[in-house]
Amino acid sequence: MSATTNSKSHSMVMLRRNIKHVTRNPTSVFNAVLMPVIILLMFVYMFGDAFDVGVDYVDYATPGLMLLAVCYGLGGLATVVNSDMTKGIINRFKVMDVSRGAVLNGHVVASVLTNLLAIAALVAAAFLIGFDPSAGPLDWLGVLGMVVLLGFAAGWFTVALGMAAKSPETAGIAAVPLVMLPFFSSAIVPAEMMGPGLRQFAEYQPFTPIIETLRGLLAGAPSSGDAITAISWCVGIALGGYLWASATFRKRA
């Protein structure tokens, strides 16, 4: 058996294992899939009337909450990655010649699949409460592509965080800023409505162009400027996370 096919089949085994982990941990399912739906309902019904965003609030908020749905699963991801590193099973995998790629890919791909599930639930809920996007099939494909790219970027970055942390508990905490970041973007309210300082932060942080890209696609009027910025951010974060995670993997025995 060649090294590549070996690594590929190991990746599949690891992915199956990680998916089982997600389904067996009710907290992670709740956080990753239900929480974004609850937040959607909360914002649309409780606060929606308070924000004047120029369009129906559910149409404004859904793209932003897609990003939130990706981020909410990350705390759990950092924790499980760290558990793998600190609880001895990683040594078993290493002795069995399971590659670094297989272990880490398994985590990232499982995370992206969880993201897609969460976003499907979110979009379904949004439609039920009156979400009315004007996106065509190509735009939807663009949304899917953007979300998957974001999932990989956030996934690799979080895997790196999880690997670098000392314990599963600190790993979970390290991911909290990622979970909070969408609130300081144009996800919930437009950046122009925020106070000085915060507004500049919201305008330039990576999540805002990603949200604006999704918003554009869903409105059927994608902006290529936002899209290029968003894609660059995602590729950069994914690459940085991948390199950081790989370096940490080599260092930790």
């Binding site: 294992r17 089982k20 982990h21 067996r24 609880k87 099973i89 040594n91 078993r92 002795v95 069995m96």
Partner: protein, 316 residues
């Protein structure tokens, strides 16, 4: 040589300024149990990590199953199984799924994977809990599952790092039985332990590790000849009593601080009776009477001149 399973010479490993392994030479014959005996912090886990390719040595050469650990790591890994100090089981998976995971990852599982899993569950008495997540297992069951997972690829050389630390006496005995069965099948076992009786029970050869150096190597009997045997310890209430008692036992050593007398003996009833009679003849009585059999502390005191200190293991 074909009957050497593990051969190390001049093995060195340091973490920063701390030298953990300071020139270790080992020769483990195939089909035997070799025990690395030492207190916490002696470097046992580091030795296992280096021998199993998990860590790189700083110096020296090691061949495991005939392959160099530095240049032929893959071949070494294919030949060995490792059960670490902390049970490396996946807690969210069931016992059966844990074993299945090993089958799926293993390149050399002989025969049908399902059958291998069922056989291992039966052999380790885990059939009833096979469908429960490993997080619900007791310490002993986890260790058993851990070892069962190690056996999936049918390795011919198995490293067991403190396999019975923290286990209750019954689980310890079960573990010992399993080790004996493996050796009967021709498997080579490299076992680390901090228990003298465990090394005594299982090992063909024992090496004593202290602060990164091997201070003694040999069979259990050879080592025991180097350490003080069973002795009786008498503790008195006054110096006068100790002074009176000491000349009665010429072989004895006194401990003035503790007001105690250490008298070598075999621990049998006959010699004990003679000892007590002798005290009685001189109308002496001891405050406390203990029979002491040699333990790891005695080995270390005899071989290194210091006792085992309670240190935490430096490396994970």
């Amino acid at each position: 040589m074909t009957n050497t399973a593990i051969a190390a010479s001049g093995l060195r490993k340091a973490f920063g300024d701390t030298i953990v392994l300071d020139g270790i030479d080992l020769d483990v014959r195939a089909g035997t149990v070799f025990s690395l005996l030492g207190p916490n912090g002696a470097g046992k886990t580091t030795a296992v990590n280096v021998l199993t390719t998990l860590m790189q040595a700083d110096g020296g050469t090691v061949r495991v199953a005939g392959h160099d650990i530095a240049t032929e790591a893959k071949a070494v890994r294919a030949a060995i199984g490792v059960t670490g100090q902390f049970a490396a089981v996946d807690e969210l998976l069931t016992g059966r799924e844990n074993l299945q995971l090993m089958v799926d990852l293993s390149r050399t599982t002989p025969g049908d994977g399902n059958r291998v899993v069922t056989e291992l569950l039966e052999r380790f008495d885990l059939v009833e809990s096979a469908k429960k997540p490993a997080s619900t297992y007791s310490g002993g069951m986890r260790r058993k599952l851990d070892l069962a997972m190690t056996l999936v690829g049918n390795p011919r050389i198995i490293f067991l790092d403190e396999p019975t630390t923290g286990l209750d006496p019954r689980s310890r005995r079960t573990m010992w039985e399993i080790v004996r069965e493996l050796v009967a099948d021709g498997v080579t076992i490299f076992l680390t332990t901090q228990y003298l009786d465990e090394a005594d029970q299982l090992a063909d050869r024992i090496a004593v590790l202290d602060q990164g150096r091997l201070v003694a190597q040999g069979t259990a009997d050879e080592l025991k000849r180097q350490i003080p045997g069973t002795h009786v310890r008498l503790r008195f209430t006054t110096v006068a009593e100790l002074d009176a008692a000491a000349p009665l036992f010429p072989d004895s050593t006194r401990d003035d601080e503790a007001l105690a007398l250490r008298i070598p003996g075999d621990g049998g009833t006959k010699s004990l009776r003679a000892l007590l009679d002798r005290l009685d003849e001189h109308s002496l009585s001891a405050e406390e009477f203990t029979v002491h059999t040699p333990d790891l502390d005695d080995v270390f005191l005899a071989l290194t001149g210091h006792t085992t200190e309670p240190e935490t293991e430096a490396a994970t």
